[in-house]
């Protein structure tokens, strides 16, 4: 190796070393905070879930999977889990189907597209804690607009948020109202991504009325987008919390008890820290499952294009 080469090698090695050093300086703070605020807390939740710790207590015992066994027996948790599944199972398909239908109608014409999009999207921008208060007035048994309208048709309304049979549907309606516009803009973007020449090709093949275009081009191609929207909306449905906290506190008689609210109450009101952590682990498993599914759908979508 000549002196010149050696010098060049040294220079490259030196540059590499400097690059690594500055990279560490740049990424260090983020990595430290990521570790302290995300990774370690996640591990802590798993660890705490295996103890009987109550916040403030000086002692704690390792109890293994006992908290999870207790969850299975716990009437409140079972109710909460079931309610959540029913809520997700009902609101997600409704939100997805309605938003897709709206997106198709909006895209079917040219005028006022942006206006209609904005109007339907507005509820998503309304801070839910405050909007829930508006819904409470709307659903009020005597002076609420809903019961007034029903009354004028001769139908007796219910005390929507205080009745065991209507509280979950009422919260479902608020969820759909809030999230419809969000699903809508995702679908509108999906529809825009369908190449126009596919419609021309369908035209040539004789599929020239609305129904034929819909069934030959739009719906088959919107499939992956719909799957994606479905998961995004499902994630939001599993996370429903604000309306329960503001309007029902899980009642009446636990009829609106749902996963995240139960987690909140056990962890931060009853201070049953270990038990609350076990609920958090269940919630985490659901969210991770859905997110990984979403990543796979996203991958597939990339391959389509």
């Amino acid at each position: 190796m000549s002196a010149a080469t050696r010098q060049a090698v040294c220079a490259i090695a030196r540059r590499r070393w400097l690059e690594s050093l500055s990279a560490c300086a740049l990424i260090g703070p983020a990595m430290f905070l990521l570790l302290v605020l995300f990774i370690l807390p996640a591990m802590a939740v798993l660890a705490i879930a295996a103890t009987d710790w109550q916040f403030g207590a000086r002692t704690l015992r390792f109890v293994g999977l006992q908290n999870f066994a207790q969850l299975l027996e716990d009437e409140t948790f079972r109710r909460s889990f079931l309610n959540t599944l029913v809520f997700v199972g009902a609101t997600v398909p409704v939100t997805v189907v309605l938003s897709l239908a709206l997106a198709l109608v909006i895209e079917s014409g040219r005028s006022l597209r942006a206006f209609y999009r904005a109007v339907h999207f507005l509820p998503f921008m309304a801070t839910l804690a405050a909007a829930a208060i508006a819904w409470e007035a709307l659903l009020h048994p005597t002076i609420g607009l809903v019961n007034q309208v029903l009354g004028s048709f001769g139908v007796t309304g219910a005390n929507w948020l205080r009745d065991e049979t209507t509280v979950l549907p009422a919260l479902g309606v608020i969820f759909v109202w809030k999230n419809l516009g969000y699903a809508l803009i995702l679908f509108l973007a999906g529809l825009k991504a369908i190449p126009a020449d596919l419609y021309d090709a369908a035209d040539v093949d004789g599929a020239d009325d609305v129904i034929a275009r819909l069934s030959t081009v739009t719906l088959p191609l919107i499939g992956p987008v719909a799957m994606f929207v479905l998961i995004v909306v499902a994630l939001r449905a599993f996370e429903v919390f604000d309306t329960i906290k503001v309007l029902t506190q899980g009642g009446p008689a636990k009829a609106s008890e749902m996963l995240l609210y139960t987690l909140y109450v056990e962890s931060f009101e009853f201070m049953r820290t270990g038990y609350g952590a076990a609920i958090a682990v269940v919630f985490l498993a659901i969210v991770i499952g859905l997110t990984l599914l979403q990543a796979r759908v996203l991958d597939r979508r990339v391959h389509y294009q």
Partner: protein, 278 residues
């Protein structure tokens, strides 16, 4: 579906349908504003009229503003959201640059940590974060509202994607011009990736302005409450069934984000599109 023009009848049907669904979507918000303008008599004497016969907005809004420190809640919201966004960008941008443009040992591992962080919903971490804030003695301060969010895995992820698309030549040229690596991040990369930064900032502000879960855990003192927590406290304590002032308070809390959205629709829609992949 675009390509063709609709003939008159379907076009009309489209407008009628969309106006109807649009009106339905707006009912809760319109009704909220309408009640905030009416005196108690009109509210309880059920009527469909949107417009009050007796103009009572002054009294309702004055009551809302004097019984609860609503402006203070809004100010808290602005302070907390601004601090969170600034911290997130200041922390995420250098990290994203290192992941996108620099070679160093452990890069894949670091990126792996970011992806794991992306998977973790915040509600799950609330319990250990609550304990952390308690240990640090910052519960019931602004710091407790801000600290858990100073780093955003999604911010790092998103900026990395954008920074990767910036040509290496630009980075080399900047180095030859004597820019430090930090200066490259903030004076070259961030301006080039402006659409991503705006989208991310909008997304972050919407998420934290609307958050009720963490503030509920982190603060108790009224003067620290963000708008979400404040309006709920206002309802529980003051305005039980006094609907006029209550709706006025709700309107004041809902208004800022709605107005911001109407003023900068494109940013919001783009931000949320980008955010949906999270």
């Amino acid at each position: 579906m675009s390509a063709r023009r609709l003939s008159l009848a379907p076009a009309l049907a489209r407008h009628i349908l969309l106006c109807a669904t649009g009106a339905l979507m707006l009912v809760p918000l319109v009704w909220m504003v309408s009640l905030s303008l009416k005196p108690p008599g009109e509210i309880f004497h059920a009527s469909f009229s949107l417009w009050p016969t007796q103009w009572y907005a002054g009294v309702n809004y004055a009551r809302a503003l004097t019984t609860a420190p609503l402006p203070r809640f809004l100010l808290n919201g602005v302070i907390v959201c601004a601090a969170i966004v600034v911290c997130q960008i200041a922390v995420s941008a250098p990290a994203a640059y290192a992941l996108a443009k620099l070679r160093f040992p452990g890069r894949d591992f670091a990126f792996g940590l970011v992806l794991v962080g992306l998977l973790l919903p915040h509600q799950v971490l609330a319990l250990p974060l609550f304990i952390l804030c308690w240990q640090l003695g910052i519960l019931n301060t602004y710091a407790a509202l801000i600290l858990p969010f100073v780093v955003s895995p999604f911010g790092i992820f998103l900026l990395r994607q954008f920074f990767k698309a910036v040509p290496d030549d630009l980075v080399h040229a900047a180095r030859l011009d004597g820019f430090s690596e930090l200066a490259i991040v903030f004076r070259i990369m961030l301006p080039v990736a402006r659409p991503a930064v705006i989208a991310f900032a909008t997304l972050s502000v919407v998420a934290h302005w609307n958050d009720l879960f963490w503030p509920l855990i982190a603060v108790r003192a009224e003067h620290l409450m963000p708008p979400t927590l404040g309006v709920v406290a206002f309802r529980n304590e003051e305005a039980g069934s006094d609907f006029g002032p209550l709706m006025a308070g709700a309107t004041i809390v809902v208004a800022p984000l709605i107005l911001a959205f109407l003023a900068a629709q494109r940013w919001f829609v783009e931000g949320l599109m980008v955010g949906s992949v999270k």
